[in-house]
Symmetry: C2
Subunit: 111 residues, 2 copies
Amino acid sequence: MSDQPVQAFEPPYYLAVFTTVRTQEQTGYSETADRMEELVQDIPGYLGMDHAQTPGGLGISVGYFRDAEALTQWRTQAEHREAQQRGREQWYESYTLHVAKVERSHGFTRA
Amino acid sequence: MSDQPVQAFEPPYYLAVFTTVRTQEQTGYSETADRMEELVQDIPGYLGMDHAQTPGGLGISVGYFRDAEALTQWRTQAEHREAQQRGREQWYESYTLHVAKVERSHGFTRA
């Protein structure tokens, strides 16, 4: 993840919006997040990831994938599944996941 | 917007992911953001909004709408169009917009 937003790709492509509220118990979270960021790069069709975190508030991650199959491959990746399980047990107070097919996109960069 | 993530709705519904990097020139931004948050409530089919902002980094807003028409109505709302224009002139270094149709969603809340 960089400080720049992921660019607009040519539709159709897929995205997964993952919105989270964390618990007080964040042991191991950042190591796992770093590992997931590394692992997802191996998924064919992975396009990029945006992340923003309001201190003490909501976190939003958006992952971009070329097609639904790429997203399924990431969702079911063994180490990622373990991380999801640990998230429910330990790191997340609540979360929502929205999986969607992009129909339209555009970008802007200051001249 | 609350501190809790917007819930999972019954698909299909639409979302717009808006990822931003801001400039140094933020005069008027927060007043306009508050006004937009108020105005969007008037759009029939508006479902909710998530927002997260990494200090000094990426901002992500995700708006949820019942259908594409609701989203179009919001995009073309007169006062919102003025705000978009001012965003390009003044507040945003860069941004990306992804408009997508949700196919699958679920939520988790700690027991």
